[in-house]
């Protein structure tokens, strides 16, 4: 039987009446119409569903609504709420950090969390953190360049 859970998403409080073990991902997408967070595997293996829960990059597909209740959640929709793209979003555009783009919201949220804790993350830190986010287009060179840009460095040029 449904219980009611309260979550704050991108600064707005929502009371959701639903099954306790339902994934946060489904609640975001189906109940709150926030479809920017993507399903990729449903088992925490690809991180397409990455959101920030109390600032921590977390896989929404393996986080139940009950676990998330009472938390502050940030999704891709909240990053540019002011109308200004977040520097990581801008970097993904500048560095062609997307092909199909389906993994990009998760990539960006992982990068945002990384750069908040380590604003000038080294390449080693970036790869260690971002390697959990799969991109089947294998656009990793450009995703790396985007995070490098957002970390305030000129991306390594591989272009001819």
């Amino acid at each position: 039987m449904p219980d009611t859970f309260t979550i704050r998403v991108n600064g707005t409080e929502h009371a959701v009446a639903t099954d306790a073990d339902r994934p946060l991902l489904d609640v975001l997408r189906e109940d709150l119409a926030l479809t920017g967070t993507k399903y990729g595997c449903g088992e925490g293996a690809c991180r397409a569903c990455t959101v920030l829960i109390d600032g921590e990059a977390t896989q929404a597909c393996i986080t139940s609504i009950e676990t998330a209740a009472g938390s502050e959640i940030e999704t891709i929709e909240g990053l540019a709420a002011s109308g200004q793209l977040h520097p990581v979003q801008q970097a993904f555009i500048d560095q062609a950090g997307m092909q199909c783009g389906y993994c990009v919201p998760g990539q960006i949220m992982t990068a945002v969390a990384l750069l908040r804790s380590s604003p000038q993350a080294t390449d080693e830190e970036i790869v260690a953190e971002m390697t959990g986010n799969l991109c089947r287009c294998c656009n990793y060179e450009n995703i790396l360049a985007a995070v490098q840009q957002a970390a305030g460095r000129a991306p390594d040029a591989s272009a001819p």
Binding site: T18, T35, L85, C137
Partner: protein
């Protein structure tokens, strides 16, 4: 064998060949009967009889929908583009965007010929109710086929617009200066695209005019094509606003879930739907072997299916009726047959092969094994279906909207006009989304639920019930003369298909052929098709022959190549990589090249083997595809192909037993990650003098054999399988 897909077309699909007969036959090999045969309901049956008609399975003439493509000169401009009152031009195409960059490239193509900034051009892609049929999105055909078609239409429209503006401004057309949507004549009078949009004459002109015989803007004049334009909807992607097929939401929409059989070939004997039907808000439906549930959330729909799963009784094939992956190559070899080789189109014979093989001083035989792999696009199959008074609309991710349209017509016995398929820009394809399973399933669920239904496959479903790149066994028998020249070349591919089956190297006599076999898994297209297999085996064999001839792998290849584009990319990669210097220094390096779909690629790889694991240090790849239309997207495609190709070379392999996939998860089927990224160096060989060809596939075919060469340099061990084993 009960779990294989029947290669004969019991239920013939309309011809799905692209407009270019040279396109690979095998791309469309996934011919099979529909998975579900839905019951005819009584009213429908009576209706069909009453009309005196057979219940139609497919449109009587599959070509009818495709006539627009084949009779291009009859195409009306009005079918291809509309000019809005805001001066924005809307261009229509059946092509889809799955990450390869078609939307941006076609926008550039239209903007180029209309001489407009890109933001004044909008594309409507892949809506069967609105778009002229340019075919599916496959075979790297958008660049050589659809781009010219869109350019022709836009160039013709520009000419018509100038004439109309001239008439309106009372001046000869030769006096009209056109720039960025504005028409000016010498007396200073002017009009704009937005003004002309409202003109009745424009409408009449577009209704009657066709794109014939208008010169396209030459490469040297390009202002939009040839520039590194960013993905046109990049901002929507990075803000999460772009709606992929799985993101489509309709009012009153339910979510669906389908019950899957426990193994391939299983049929449903009985099931009790009541436990699901008793759940609040759940609709459960069985129709033949199809069982599914809908509910207000996908979670509830999945719980409903779980509730009835244990009541199902399946007729399953015995475990020993299934081929297991550890018996795969033996099985393919045993069942290989020249007769009925549906994929046997590739192949030819030249010279006296047998005599050369028997008399040559050195003969070399080698066998290569190619695993089943999967596309595994990040967005699994998804569809939203809506019925409205017998008419069906489905939003889904597919590379073949016309084919899915046909599948829906067949499954629900609908006329062509009663079905509409819309493909929102989709989360990846790689040749793996040529079918409409989710579309059919969502439509059946929506029919049962009486409301729109969204269905998204799980990753496990995608790994199990989508299809695979064919596995293969490749046998090569070759001979060298005393001078180290290849005098005989006999190349046999079992099951993979015919792409790049021919050798680009000079050989006095030979044969290439493709044999069909009993395929244990459902198989179909993949990025660059069988050239991923054939190019690997051929290039690996070239390394072995080079060694037998006492030659360097690069010099041996050059000695067998005529001057031309392949030789040019090979030299370009070797020079940038410093192949000769690094070989002399004893670095662990490998080299390979190949051509497919009219483009040319060569790769040099440096690798190391540590504790039994291959580490790829660097890849230097040269690529040539004629005149480059978007260097930024081209670079992304080449980089992505290299890394995807490394995945298939290093780890990717579908394992199966007893009619199940044993590694249907990203935890067990390991695709490339960022920490697999080697140092990449890309050399685009510019050929603005040559027609542009597609570039989203061929750059994948050289990296695996080049890596095999590097592994041999490191270990002295020849790797003759994909993935490579050390």
């Amino acid at each position: 064998m009960t779990n294989r897909q029947d290669m004969t077309a019991q239920h013939e699909l309309p011809s799905l060949l692209d407009d270019d007969p040279a396109v690979e036959f095998e791309r469309y090999e996934l011919r099979e009967p529909p998975r579900y045969v839905f019951a005819v309901d009584r009213r429908e049956f009576v209706g069909a009889l009453g009309a005196g008609l057979v219940v139609v399975a497919w449109p009587a003439d599959g070509q009818a929908q495709r006539g627009g493509r084949q009779a291009r000169r009859d195409e009306r401009l009005a079918d291809r583009l509309h000019i809005g009152a805001d001066g924005v031009v809307t261009v229509l195409t059946s092509k889809v965007e799955v990450g390869q960059g078609s939307r941006t490239q076609l926008t550039q193509a239209a903007a180029e010929e209309l001489q407009l900034p890109m933001d004044r051009v909008r594309l409507i892609m892949a809506d069967t109710a609105a778009c002229p049929d340019d075919g599916g999105t496959a075979g790297s055909r958008t660049t050589p086929s659809t781009v010219p078609r869109v350019r022709s239409a836009c160039a013709a429209a520009r000419v018509q617009l100038v004439e109309l503006a001239a008439a309106k401004l009372g001046a000869p057309a030769s006096d009209v200066r056109y720039e960025a949507g504005r028409f000016t004549v010498s007396d200073g009078a002017a009009t704009t695209l937005a003004d002309l949009a409202a003109d009745r004459e424009l409408v009449a002109t577009f209704e009657s005019a066709s794109p014939a015989d208008v010169a396209l803007r030459p490469v040297e004049a390009w202002q939009v094509l040839g520039t590194p334009a960013a993905k046109v909807d990049a901002a929507a992607v990075v803000t999460g606003q772009h709606r992929y097929p799985s993101d489509i939401r309709l009012p009153d929409m339910a979510y669906g879930k389908v019950l899957r059989p426990p193994s391939y070939g299983a049929t449903l004997a009985e099931i009790d739907l009541r436990p699901a039907q008793e759940m609040d808000g759940v609709i459960a439906v069985r129709d033949g072997d199809f069982v599914g549930c809908t509910a207000a959330t996908s979670w509830r729909a999945a719980r409903a299916v779980e509730a009835i799963e244990s009541t199902a009784r399946w007729n399953e094939p015995a475990p020993d009726e299934h081929v297991h992956s550890d018996q795969l190559y033996e099985h393919l070899k045993q069942t290989a047959a020249e007769e009925g080789g549906r994929r046997g189109r590739g192949g030819r014979e030249w010279g006296d092969r047998q005599a050369a093989l028997e008399s040559a001083p050195r003969r070399h035989q080698s066998t290569y094994h190619i695993a089943y792999i999967q596309h595994a696009p990040m967005e699994p199959r998804a569809a939203v279906a809506q019925w409205d008074e017998g008419r069906l609309t489905v939003w889904t991710g597919t590379q073949q909207p016309a084919r899915v349209h046909s599948e829906l017509q067949s499954a629900f016995r609908l006329g062509a006009d009663a079905v509409r398929v819309v493909v929102p820009d989709t989360g990846g394809g790689f040749g793996g989304k040529h079918t409409g399973e989710a579309a059919v399933e969502a439509a059946r669920l929506a029919k049962a639920a009486g409301r729109p239904v969204s269905l998204r496959w799980t990753r496990e479903e995608e790994f199990t019930w989508a299809y695979f790149r064919p596995a293969g066994v490749i046998e090569i028998d070759a001979a060298l003369d005393d001078a180290g020249r290849i005098v005989a070349w006999d190349f046999t591919n079992i099951n993979s298909g015919g792409s790049a089956v021919d050798t680009p190297y000079r050989t006095a006599a030979g044969r290439t052929r493709v044999l069909a076999a009993d395929a244990p898994l459902r198989q179909g297209s993949y990025r660059a098709l069988a050239s991923t297999a054939n190019n690997f085996a051929r290039e690996a064999a070239m390394d072995e022959l080079a060694e037998a001839a006492g030659a360097d792998p690069l010099e041996f290849r050059l000695a067998h190549l005529e001057p031309g584009r392949l030789r040019d990319v090979l030299l370009a990669a070797a020079e940038r990589f410093d192949w000769r210097g690094r070989r002399a220094a004893g670095d662990f390096v490998g080299i390979a090249c190949g051509t497919e779909k009219g483009s040319y690629v060569a790769a040099c790889v440096e690798a190391a083997v540590e504790d039994g694991t291959i580490r790829v240090r660097s890849v230097c790849q040269a690529f040539e595809c004629g005149a480059v239309q978007n260097p930024r997207n081209l670079l992304s495609q080449v980089q992505g192909c290299i890394v995807m190709g490394l995945g298939a070379a290093l780890r990717e392999e579908i394992r199966f037993s007893e009619g199940r996939i044993d590694n249907a998860s990203f935890y067990d089927y390991e695709v490339p990650r960022m920490d697999d990224l080697p140092e990449l160096e890309i050399v685009i060989v510019e050929r603005p003098d040559l027609p542009s060809v597609g570039a989203g596939e061929t750059p994948i075919i050289a990296v695996a054999p080049a890596l095999a060469g590097a592994v041999y340099a490191a270990t002295g061990q020849r790797c003759k399988s994909l993935p490579l084993r050390v």
